[in-house]
Structure formats: C-alpha cells, structure tokens
C-alpha cells in the first residue's frame, strides 16, 4: 500500500545537490521523483527510486558521507485535471489527518497525475482514500514508471 522513499540530509550550500545527484547517477540510480525541503541552515532531499534501488541508494550515500534513511509514504493517483488534487485533500482534511509534506511525480506510465503524500497517520489516510475509491499506487506500479 505504501512506497519506499529515500531522505537525505544536505547542508544548505552551493553544489551539495549536484554532488548528491552525481553520486546516485554514477551508481546507475535513477530518480523517479524528487523534492527539496529547504530551511535557512539545511535541506532535506526526499526522492523515490525503484524499490530495488532503495537499499543500494542508502548504501552508496552513506559511503559518500551522507545521512540517508528510507521510510514509507503514500502514493496516490488522480485525474489529471482541475480539482483532482483538491478533492483528495478534502477527503484527508475531513478525516482530521494533516500532511507533513507532499510532492509530485513529473512523469509516470499512467494517465493519472501522481502525487506523494506524507500524512500524519498514513494507515488511516490510505484507508479513507481507498474507501473513497481513490487510486492508491503500489510499489509494483511505481517500479514500472
């Protein structure tokens, strides 16, 4: 029901993102989705890679001195048109679940738009969305993107 995400700590300094993507790229790891949370002092890079690349990503990042962790997030498909996201967020809000962060896939093999959500309660969030008929995208589906 959930998909794996890799989070990495970056200092907020010139060239750090380039260096991170180079490390992943040279190890043949492709980024399917990417988000950057930036604060004045540091950044958190969150990305989706194919499930088979998650452990490898963390390993190579650690070897290169990064702090990286995997966790699970919710991946949701929705009609690629106005109100697509708004309708889903309305369902989440009604259930009193808050969203820590969210970002989207730029490209997928689906006609739907695909976004990633990190809800405060991911089990509950997945249930209310799937009960409402929302397309919860599985890791297997993501691996085919």
């Amino acid at each position: 029901m959930f998909i794996k995400q890799v989070s990495v700590f970056l200092e907020n300094a010139k060239g750090t993102l380039k260096e991170l993507t180079r490390v992943l790229g040279e190890n043949e790891i492709n980024l399917l989705a990417l988000s950057i949370a930036d604060t004045a002092g540091f950044g958190i890079i969150r990305c989706i890679v194919k499930s088979g690349d998650v452990d490898k990503s963390i390993e190579v990042l650690k070897e290169n001195g990064y702090i990286a962790k995997a966790n699970e997030v919710l991946c949701v498909g929705m009609p690629h048109k106005p109100m697509g996201l708004a309708n889903i967020l309305a369902l989440i809000e009604e259930s009193d679940i808050s969203i820590e962060y969210s970002y989207s896939f730029c490209r997928s093999t689906l006609d739907d738009a695909v976004i990633i959500i990190r809800p405060s309660d991911k089990e509950k969030c997945a249930k209310i969305l799937s009960d409402a008929g929302v397309h919860i995208i599985s890791q297997q589906e993501v691996d085919k993107f």
Binding site: S7, I44, G65, I67
Partner: protein, 434 residues
C-alpha cells in the same frame, strides 16, 4: 575629565603603609581559611605551609593556588569561611561544565564590595547629583546588583533597568535624564548606535559610563565615546573575588587601579606558576584579604594582562592592570557571560543521538558578540521532516541557553564536515577582533 576620589586616604595611601595593611590582612585571611576551610587547610598542609609562616605580603608566594574547578568541586558551600548564618547574599556565575559556581557574602563583604564600586563610580565622575542607569543584568550575575549598590553608596539616583529592552532603556535615559550608564561595553555601543539612528543623542544628559564584564579595546572606547559623547571608563571584576569593582579606571584612562587594600593582585607565569615582576605580561592572580564569607587564596583568573606600579597622575597609589589581552584557557566572554566549550559539550552529549563532533565559533559584529555552535548531524537525529530536525535544533539551543546562559545559533552540519584534528580537537574558533 575631573579627578574625583572616593576615599583619598586609602586610595592614595603610601606604598609602605599599604604593604603593612596588606600584610596584616593577608595573615588574618590565611589564619581564617586554614581554620575554617578544609580545602585550604589540606592544600597548605600539602605544601608544608603553616598560617604563622605568612607574615608579610611577600610571603604570598608560599600559598597554594585556587582554581575555578575548586569552586565547582566545593559547590555550593564548601569554601565558606564563615558560619552559614552570617552569609547574607549569594551571587554566582556559570562554571566550567554546567554546574554554576557561587560565592557567599557576609554583610561586611557586601559593604566592602559596595565601597569598591563606589570608588569606581566616583572615579568616573559620580556623585549625589547623578542619575545612574544600571543596564547590567540583575540576578545571580554580579553586574546589576554590584553597580546598583555602588551607585546608591555615592548618593546617586539609581535607575535599575537591568539589561535588554533597548527602546525602553533609551526612553528612560532621555526622559529621566540619566547622567551615567553602567553596562557591558558592547551593549553600550548598541545603545549608542540605536540612539544615533533615532536621532536622540543630543537630547541625552549622559556624561560618562562604567563598562565592564567583557574584554574591550581602546578602539571600542573611542567609538563609544564618540557615539554617546561620554567618557567611557573600564571596570573589571569577577564573582569569585567580589564582582565588578575589583579594579577600575581613573581619569588618566590608563589601566584599572586594583583595590589593593582589599585584594592583592599578582602576575604569574601561567606555566610555571612563578610570580613575575610588574610590567611583564602573565596570568592575573588575586588573593582577597578582607573577605569573610568566601575568601580566595591566589585565585587564578586565567586572564592575561600586565600590572603597572609606576605613579599615576590621578594620585592613586594602587597598582594598575592593563587591558586583558587574552586567556590562558579556552574560556570565552560573550556579552558578559563566561562560556567554556566544555559546558556546551556537556549539553551535547546529554542529548540523545548527538555525536560529540562540534565546533564553537565566536563572532563580533558591530561590537556585539555572538556564538554559533556547529553540530554534526547523526543518523539518530535525522528524519524526513523539517519539523523534527528543527525541534531538535531548538532543543539544543534551549539547553545550552539554560546551562550557559546565552542564546547560541545552532547550525546542523553534514557528518564529517567538521575538520578532525590529530590529538586535541579544535573546538573553538574565535573570529573576534577585540
């Protein structure tokens, strides 16, 4: 500026008479601590020194040294030489590792301290016609109450503002017509700059100020005097000895006269501990000779300076200390607060998950000091949400504030980004140009 002396008889006493007074008071102090303080008795016994061996001030060199760690180890009342019921006040400052150090004062100790500050304020021009604004912090820190007592003693009107709240400070300074200011030189500079920006300097009645609790320079003095159109005078002190007023500047503005009838200063070689002659830089050491509550024998300040005994044009005969030019340890003075890297380290290791890799960076911008602590992030500390990491950062800042007493900027940095040095890690980068 005018040459005013609070107690000409004692402050201008002949060196010979002073030697007699110091010798008598030193012998009394040594007897008192030997009889009442186990630590001093043990140290003197170890050195084979008996109280009766201390006959004149020249015998000072026979006595053992006292360190800040002794105050910590004997916290809170282990160094008292008077019954606890005779102690009427506790003042304190931060220690070296989180545990504060405190000093107990008898009524007479408060009296002596008050007089020392009264001498300092008088030298800066204070009298019954003055309105003295005290913008040092009040509390355990000796700055606020010390200046307050001295200002009352000279008969001035005291405005006990305490530190901070700059707009209100300036409003009171203007409306009440403060003629003197007591605070740290960096805060005085900030007040002066703000007053300039507000265009109210010409409305102020300030004529002088006594500034201390942190090291400063002649350049800062010139700047401060120009900003506020005042005479800016240095005042030096430390809680362990009394508080502000241990020494102070006179109208000659050429070093701080040590109140030698209460405190004997020495300069020693910081490595060998050997006493050094006047005129040579070394570590400043103080022995209190009138203190009853918590006397100090040869207390090592770790401040580096020079003592001068050449005659001063003001007429005072007490020796003068030059500006503090450095430290023999890694203590920093940040906005009047003593900070040791070991205090910050004790906080960091106490927070779950924080590796002991950190570096402390002191900066001085616009005459105000700031402290940044860079801490390497560890896997335990990391999470995918910003809120989690920000909470941790605030937690570190809050705990450092509660232990050290000042707000630090906490920067979380990538693992292994702080240079590792061989042997003793370089934990401190002081970029201040004082």
């Amino acid at each position: 500026m005018e040459n005013k002396i609070y107690d000409p008889k004692m402050e201008c006493i002949s060196r010979d008479e002073l030697f007699e007074i110091q010798s008598k008071r030193l012998a009394e102090t040594v007897r008192r601590v030997y009889d009442n303080v186990p630590l001093y008795r043990k140290r003197m016994d170890e050195k084979g020194v008996r109280p009766e061996d201390i006959k004149t001030r020249d015998d000072l060199r026979l006595l053992p040294f006292t360190e800040k760690t002794d105050l910590r180890d004997c916290f809170p009342f282990g160094l008292l030489a008077a019954p606890k019921k005779e102690i009427v006040r506790i003042q304190g400052s931060s220690g070296t590792t989180g545990k504060p150090i405190v000093s107990g004062y008898t009524a007479n100790d408060i009296e002596v301290w008050t007089e020392m500050v009264a001498r300092a304020l008088t030298a800066a021009g204070a009298g019954p016609d003055d309105i003295i604004q005290v913008a040092y912090g009040y509390g355990l820190f000796t700055g606020g109450l010390g200046a307050h007592q001295g200002a009352q003693r000279v008969g001035a009107m005291v405005i006990p503002m305490s530190s901070g709240n700059t707009q209100r400070q300036l409003m009171m300074m203007k409306e009440l017509g403060s003629t003197m200011l007591c605070c740290t030189p960096s805060y005085a500079t900030y007040l002066g700059e703000t007053a300039r920006e507000m265009g109210i300097v010409d409305d102020l009645k300030l004529k002088s100020g006594c500034f201390g609790a942190e090291p400063w320079s002649e350049e800062m003095r010139r700047n401060l005097e120009g900003l506020l159109n005042i005479d800016a005078m240095d005042i030096y002190g430390l809680t362990e000895i009394a508080g502000p007023g241990v020494s102070f500047e006179c109208c000659a503005k050429n070093g701080c006269h040590v109140n030698e009838d209460h405190v004997i200063p020495e300069i020693i070689d910081p490595v060998t501990g050997e006493p050094m002659p006047y005129g040579v830089p070394g570590e400043l050491v103080f022995t209190t000779i009138t203190k009853e509550g918590q006397p100090m024998l040869r207390y090592r300040t770790h401040d580096i300076c020079v003592l001068y005994d050449d005659p001063c044009p003001c007429g005072r005969t007490h020796v003068r200390m030059g500006r503090i030019t450095g430290r023999t340890d890694d203590m920093l003075v940040i906005r009047g607060v003593n900070v040791f890297p070991s205090q910050i380290e004790s906080v960091l290791v106490g927070i779950n998950g924080v590796a002991p890799h950190y570096v402390i960076i002191a900066e001085r911008e616009n005459y105000t000091d700031s402290l940044e602590v860079q801490v390497e992030l560890t896997e335990n500390m990391f999470s995918d949400t910003v809120a989690h990491i920000e909470t941790l950062r605030r937690q570190i800042a809050d705990q450092i504030k509660s232990v050290v007493g000042i707000q630090c900027k906490i920067t979380l940095v990538a693992p292994r980004s702080i240079p590792r040095s061989e042997g003793k890690a370089k934990r401190l980068i002081d970029n201040r140009k004082i």
